[in-house]
Amino acid sequence: MAGSSSGQLGPLTARADKVLAKPRPIPGVLAVNGKPTPFHVFLPGAGSEPSLITDLDGFVGVTEVMGKGTDQDGNTLLWDADVRFMKGLYRGVDNEVHRGTFGFV
């Protein structure tokens, strides 16, 4: 696998705008009990689309983690999180290719 640390993604070029266009959501939607929802996200798992944005050429990371924590009064609470990143080239809603970094929580 090609190793890259901060966005050297190949021959594609990206606009260097200060104001970057928004990315587009993935076309697929989450299904609940076999019925499609309006939400453009898939649950994390092997073989599942990890990105939330489409027209992406870049790096992705996804994790579902859980644990315990403490509130301001010392109470122990449980937590669960689905955290992701997407970093690289993307086609924005302006149809131009941009370089950007996005998170999901």
Partner: protein
Amino acid sequence: MDVFRGRFDFDNFTTQIHDLNPGIDPFPGGLFWVFRTDEGNVDVDLLDASASMRLDGLRLADHFTIPNSLDGDPKAAVPATLDLHVRWQGKEAAVDERDPSNSRVGRYIHSLATMRWSATVGTFRFEAHAGRSDDPTMTGFAQIGRQRNGIFFSGQQHLEDD
């Protein structure tokens, strides 16, 4: 980011007390819980099979439960702030995936993830125990990788017409 009291309840969310996310823009069919961040906040080194993301003072909203969040009523949410540092470390060889039905191709490394985070919502302050040897983070699923989807799936850089 979901916080529960006493036990997890992913069926009816009766024990969930906080649900922090940046929202759906536009609701309901837009970008789902996505935010832009600085390039330097995400580091990826696939040769080392590692990656990390650090977020300091991310502003989002507390919808209190996932169902509230998916209802899309902005009046039901209050401002929140999140600090987070998550690190991925690969544990297996990379695997290739090709998913033509979703116009996606990628190479992914299954990983372990560790995460430290804290959040503030009004007077509520929460800090995760991640990093404590007696109370470790449990990784349900984690992977990092390199992928192309959408127009890049077929190698096209631009669409001629949209």
